[in-house]
Subunit: 402 residues, 2 copies
Amino acid sequence: MKQSTLFTKTRREAPADEISKNAILLTRAGFINKEMAGVYDFLPLGLRTLNKIISIIREEMNALGAHEIFMSSLQRKELWQRTDRWDDKSVDTWFKTNLKDGGELGLGFTHEEPISNMLEQFVSSYKDLPFSVYQFQNKFRNETRAKSGIMRTREFIMKDLYSFSTDVAQHEKFYNRVAQAYRNVFDRTGIGHLTYMTRASGGSFSKFSHEFQTLCEAGEDIIHITDGGKKEAVNKELGDGVGEAHKAVEVGNIFTLGTRFSDPYLKFKNEEGKEVPVFMGSYGIGPARLMGTIVEALSDDKGIVWPKEVAPFRVHLIALGDVKELADEAYKTLEAKGIETLYDDRDARAGEKFADADLIGIPTRVVIGEKSLESKTLEVKERTSEEVKYMTIENLIAELKK
Amino acid sequence: MKQSTLFTKTRREAPADEISKNAILLTRAGFINKEMAGVYDFLPLGLRTLNKIISIIREEMNALGAHEIFMSSLQRKELWQRTDRWDDKSVDTWFKTNLKDGGELGLGFTHEEPISNMLEQFVSSYKDLPFSVYQFQNKFRNETRAKSGIMRTREFIMKDLYSFSTDVAQHEKFYNRVAQAYRNVFDRTGIGHLTYMTRASGGSFSKFSHEFQTLCEAGEDIIHITDGGKKEAVNKELGDGVGEAHKAVEVGNIFTLGTRFSDPYLKFKNEEGKEVPVFMGSYGIGPARLMGTIVEALSDDKGIVWPKEVAPFRVHLIALGDVKELADEAYKTLEAKGIETLYDDRDARAGEKFADADLIGIPTRVVIGEKSLESKTLEVKERTSEEVKYMTIENLIAELKK
């Protein structure tokens, strides 16, 4: 993408109404726009990164054999009343609205109720089980503390996966596979080394659940690391004060629901011919929260530092001086080789271009200056290093394809 | 995908509460699930088709040079008050809701207000123009007549494109390019031969707009075809009764907004240094409405007929009898060649499998029966033809790759 075609512009100053590092950097770099507290738009660079995170999660969900669906935001009151989650006394984050032709609706904050209801028409026998379905779907939560940028918002895309099993044994097999898939997601998005599978409260459904917690000063949770090598921890809420205490952000959770949402509605005939409720699990990752956590955990004083797999572009190509022809050619070559490139073709000073590149945080910066015209070499620098290398475009491509 | 892993099942009977052909067929075939009147979930097959339509539209938008963004559903009252579109008297399809910590919000039915507001921070000079941005984003409309299946719903993904130009001349150049991009979308999704670029009222913004209208008995509009060869028509609402009258569904619209949403907020300095409002256009396609229109316009008495480019799978492979090994191998070969295949590996009767295949509507049906074990040929039939051909898998793949 030619940077001159990008309608967003970077800002030097932090927005006055933001206190979180992720909101400040993502706004300054032109990734997001604030509509109101806890509500953000994703601008071109931001949407590219968000979609890369979504693609990684989708690949891991598909590898589990889960099928993707897309459910509605609008929710029927009746479904939530029967599980006692409609009343604001039991769930205090509902957004509710009204139909013109009568009746109150909710905006979904999760989907256990509608999905188990939808499945009643399809599940009747143990032969229909197990299976799992997931979606990337806009959730709404009427948050009163929306001060953490894109990490805690009133509207956000959530990857929610639901599993349906005959019994706890079948469930646990799948649950453990999801745990591994989640580890893969955090490894691939560049925060695996900071992320701990953390035992946490199971709420009203079961004794325990597991959270994936990423070490980060902005975290709202405290975890105690119990096994650093295996990346295992315990949430402080369990009262288990063993091991070092750290601030952490919950980037995912996996949950044994049991029959809380299936009994007495979603039932099947087991091998003995007896009608029993389906055994359920639910598993969440918020892609934007993950994106915010990456910014919080990895950025430096110059700006964002994106891991390769989630960066909006792989290369930031910067033209300095009277080098249009050579730089245009390098841009075309990189794109033709499938290397996603943000090409700074703007008429701007070197200092401004370098500061923007550091702020935007693309992994590899490639400068073409007037010296390149003779030497035919490019100046290559990684975002995380001060070392500058000079290489031909062929060598650069070979390096990037490694 | 192995059909045995699909949690959805086909139904013989039409759902009692649906009257539209698209809702009946898509529900019976397991593509959608109704949450309430005008609110549907997309199940695995349905989401695959919806995503193919979205991909085609995205390619055409990117070819225009438009950049993709993703804005919020939650809307600030103030932005809509200043353009006089907040009050229920001026817009009667709002869903509204309330923040826990005070204040009324709306759920966006379109995005002219927030997008022009967002751009105020980025646009200051004629050098920043022209550009265009688009999104696939969930819209909400509080419809009272929600009886047309997925063609008129209370919640739906919309592709909305907005253009920003210095003046009407620059605008019109882009507007004409969008018209061609829209024609490409309808050609590629298989309804181009039925779709007319139709002059319609410009509402309160300008004298005319253009709709893309697809001939279809379920249509709520009447168009008069003025040039069949050029696929041009006029909407009856213009009072222009020339040419044959036909029922049609509006599958897209393109709109000159002028300065209705920019003046006096989104302004720029023109070449003479004078501050003037940006000249805007907006352009919509509802992917689910398009999907519903395809079903309405192309299905037959046996079920849905998907055009190749939007079918959930390219091939429906059906195993009959004791042929598991050969059929598994054919499935692996097709998938390895990049041919998306729904593999009916279920233990079911031939009649049931054939009826399901006709209902689901995948373009090419490939049967492996016990005769195939000796002959090594597959029985190949197009959904739209009665003719059966026998061919080896190599020939089939060559045929499909043409």
